[in-house]
């Protein structure tokens, strides 16, 4: 039962990264394309971003219902980065919508755009920082200590900053790969293609950076990966996907490109899950919160399973339909009359 819930939690995180993450990434890509890419980007994410965003809500709800202690620990010790994420979410969503719907074109559109881009950059970075803090294990077991020790240093250090950079690049890369499929003309296509290539190189470098920083903080990612078959499998699969992605981008086979890029991201996340399992949050004194020691009572968990099953049967078909209408059917291009 617990494993099923964890599985759905993993799916929610994965989809949030693949879909919601790419929506943030689109805002990052826009920094480099300027006005030209912006139109494509607006059209691409307007119908779906709100639905993509709910994967985050789902993850939060699973945590607060099924793993209340994890939720309370995160929100207590990582209050500051989470607050910044929230502010980013507020400005990204509103600025984007305002830009899309404010029919009167004038200076104000520049303000929306600036807000949209900054918050699209800031939010993924702090998601990465939060993630880093969970892995790093500097979160204290109680609030005895100075403000800096308890509420800042667990998430503000070289390791978390590298994970922040890594996640930002991952989102940007995913978005640029997806966006090649949204381009309507050659020039736009090439712009996105070039950006995706640059992001990819940076992503590899920052990925190595994460491993190095981990070594530096005594996390020993290398040996953990080597000792876990699943994690190794994931790395191999992710590597195999690289040439496939490039070939498909060159051939302009957008559907396959998206598929392999998605799969590669899924591998990265699964690899991380594999070395993290069953710990949810590493705590400084070693009293880690695992899925077993932090779960809610039996009855709550079984009811959560029912809710999730019903939810899955409702959501997945509906979600697939939404994507079919807006992502795989380009016959009607005028979205708003």
């Amino acid at each position: 039962m617990t494993s099923f819930i964890i599985f759905v939690l993993g799916i929610a995180v994965l989809f949030y990264v693949l879909l919601g993450g790419a929506d943030f990434g689109a805002g990052i890509v826009e920094i480099f394309t300027g006005k030209k890419g912006a139109d494509t980007i607006s059209k691409a994410i307007a119908p779906v971003w709100e639905a993509n965003h709910i994967w985050l809500i789902l993850a939060i709800v699973i945590l607060l219902n099924g793993f209340p202690h994890v939720f309370a620990t995160l929100t207590t010790y990582l209050h500051i980065p989470l607050l910044i994420i929230l502010i980013g979410i507020i400005f990204r969503g509103t600025a984007f919508t305002f830009r899309y719907y404010d029919t009167i074109q004038e200076n104000t559109h520049n303000y929306y755009t600036v807000l949209f881009r900054i918050s699209s950059l800031l939010t993924p970075f702090f998601f990465g920082v939060t993630l880093g803090a969970i892995i790093l294990g500097h979160i204290p077991a109680n609030v005895n200590g100075t403000f800096y020790e308890i509420f800042i240093s667990p998430w503000l250090n070289v390791f978390t900053l590298t994970t922040g950079v890594f996640l930002t690049l991952l989102f940007g890369w995913l978005a640029s790969v997806y966006l090649t499929g949204e381009a309507n003309d050659d020039e736009t296509y090439q712009t996105f293609e070039k950006i995706s290539r640059n992001f990819f190189v940076l992503l590899i470098i920052s990925g190595l950076g994460v491993f190095l920083a981990a070594e530096f903080y005594g996390l020993h990612f290398f040996s953990k990966f080597i000792h876990s078959e699943v994690a190794m499998g994931c790395i191999v699969a992710a590597t195999i996907a690289i040439p496939l992605i490039w070939r498909n981008i060159k051939r302009r086979n957008t559907l396959q490109t998206r598929f392999w890029a998605g799969l590669q991201t899924a591998c990265i996340l699964t690899g991380w899950f594999a070395i993290q399992f069953p710990v949810m949050i590493f705590i400084a004194d070693g009293s880690n919160l695992t899925i077993w020691n932090s779960q809610a009572p039996e009855r709550t968990m079984s009811l959560l399973v029912y809710a999730l099953i019903v939810g899955i049967f409702l959501i997945f078909p509906a979600f697939a339909y939404l994507f079919k209408v807006f992502k795989f059917d380009n016959s009607a291009d005028e979205t708003l009359a």
Partner: protein, 440 residues
């Protein structure tokens, strides 16, 4: 500012902001659905224009509703981690159902707003209906979670820990039905009156305009029915509060001493030190009837509660009076409207009537905010009534006043921008002649 106060204020600001968008999110899909249905049935272009014009505004409100709701789901932990740690397993269930409802809502909304040309009109219409149903359901689910805080059920509290947890019992606690019903009606009443008011203003400016006339008509049917139902539902709420949270009822009515029979106090200024109400109109026996359905029943006063456990009487009392006053104004207008629809319909075109509607624009939302202040402030000092004090649940992180200032500034700014954008949308409707059909 001390941490605890800052946390409470931040929660207040966040909810006061979110609830406006939540009400709109629950109601507008139904209005758009009606407009589109009428378009399909009558073929009149004006209804289609109306549905489209509304949907552009709604997209903006939905985005703000979604982000402010996300803020809330985090804030439950950011500000009240101890509360969520205990309450999560007990009331997480309605939240998880709410999550499913949000998903359906967001997906259907995507189809509705952006699918005008991509899906056929029936799929489009149905997706509008799904948005409406999912919106109302998500409202009911969160309110169920909130009602549990007022009427805790489904667990045993032993040495500061909850055991024998039963989330089903917790969700269907004694207060959930009354609150869910009252809230749903409130959403319809407040949004419909606001919509009618805005279109009435436009109708005053652009006379003889079929577009605005039809808009008012659709909105006010919902609004009038909701307004007339609301006092009945409010009465159910009051009777339940009298049973479940006597201290809250006593604070609402400023009843300091347990009385048999108890008078109803209208207006007046409660003086907490001297424990009596200055000025105000006292009507004998009526409170006994309203609270217990019997003119001679005893009504528990604040004297039954330790003074340190009193809710802030002044705030709760004023908020309650304001809600009821606004409710009565809406009842009057709703009644007149239905009356005019059947008889003397020429009044519906009169300037005085349109001006009245304009004046009533904010009334429903004022009632909603006031009502929530009654509920939430009236529960103090408890976060889980009778079980956990709000002050024991607050986050240990110091310096909460800074997030509070920040969130408040952001929401003030967003409020301003949303108002400004709505004005621009309305202007845009009128500068684009295709949107405005004066004849149908």
């Amino acid at each position: 500012m001390d941490n605890f106060l800052a946390a409470r204020l931040q929660m207040t600001v966040s909810f006061v902001f979110h609830i406006v968008f939540a009400c709109i999110g629950m109601t507008m899909p139904w209005l758009m659905f009606m407009a589109e249905l009428k378009w399909i049935k009558t073929g009149k272009q004006v209804y289609l224009n109306l549905a489209k014009a509304w949907s552009k505004g709604v997209a903006i409100f939905f985005a703000v509703g979604a982000v402010s709701g996300t803020v809330l789901s985090f804030e439950l932990g950011l500000l009240w981690p101890k509360f969520m740690e205990h309450a999560g397993p007990i009331i997480g269930m309605p939240f998880s159902w709410e999550g499913t409802a949000f998903f359906m809502e967001a997906i259907a909304l995507g189809l509705f707003l952006y699918g005008w040309k991509r899906v056929n009109k029936w799929v489009h219409l149905i997706s509008g209906l799904v948005v409406g149903i999912a919106g109302v359901l998500s409202g009911i689910f969160v309110v169920a979670a909130n009602s549990w805080m007022n009427s805790p059920a489904g667990f045993d509290w032993v040495n500061g820990h909850a055991i024998n947890i039963d989330p089903v019992k917790a969700m269907f606690n004694k207060a959930w039905f009354q609150q869910a019903l009252h809230m749903t009606i409130a959403a319809f009443a407040s949004t419909s009156f606001a919509v009618a008011g805005i279109h009435a203003l436009m109708l005053l400016r652009y006379k003889n305009n079929e577009f605005h006339r039809k808009a008012i008509r659709i909105a006010l049917v919902f609004g009038a029915v909701a307004a007339l139902l609301q006092p009945i539902s409010g009465d159910i709420s009051a009777k339940n509060v009298a049973k479940l949270q006597p201290a809250k009822l006593a604070a609402m009515e400023s009843l300091f001493k347990t009385s048999k029979p108890a008078p109803l106090v209208i207006g007046g200024i409660p003086d907490v030190k001297e424990e009596k109400v200055k000025y105000g109109l006292h009507i004998p026996q009526i409170l006994s009837f309203l609270a217990h359905g019997d003119f001679n029943a005893e009504v528990e006063g604040l004297d039954k509660t330790k003074k340190e456990d009193w809710p802030p009487v002044l705030i709760v009392h004023f908020a309650f009076q304001i809600m009821v006053l606004m409710g009565m104004l809406m009842v009057g207008a709703g009644f007149l409207y239905l009356f005019f629809r059947f008889k003397w319909s020429e009044n519906l075109e009169k300037r005085w009537w349109l001006k009245t509607l304009v004046c009533l624009t904010p009334v429903g939302f004022i009632a909603v905010e006031a009502g929530w202040i009654v509920t939430e402030v009236g529960r103090q000092p408890w976060i889980i009534y009778g079980i956990m004090k709000t002050s024991d649940a607050v986050t240990p992180m110091p310096g909460i006043q800074y997030p509070f200032y920040l969130i408040t500034l952001i929401y003030l700014f967003l409020t301003f921008v949303v108002f400004w954008l709505m004005r621009r949308q309305i202007i845009a409707i009128h500068t684009n002649p295709q949107n405005i059909d004066t004849h149908d």
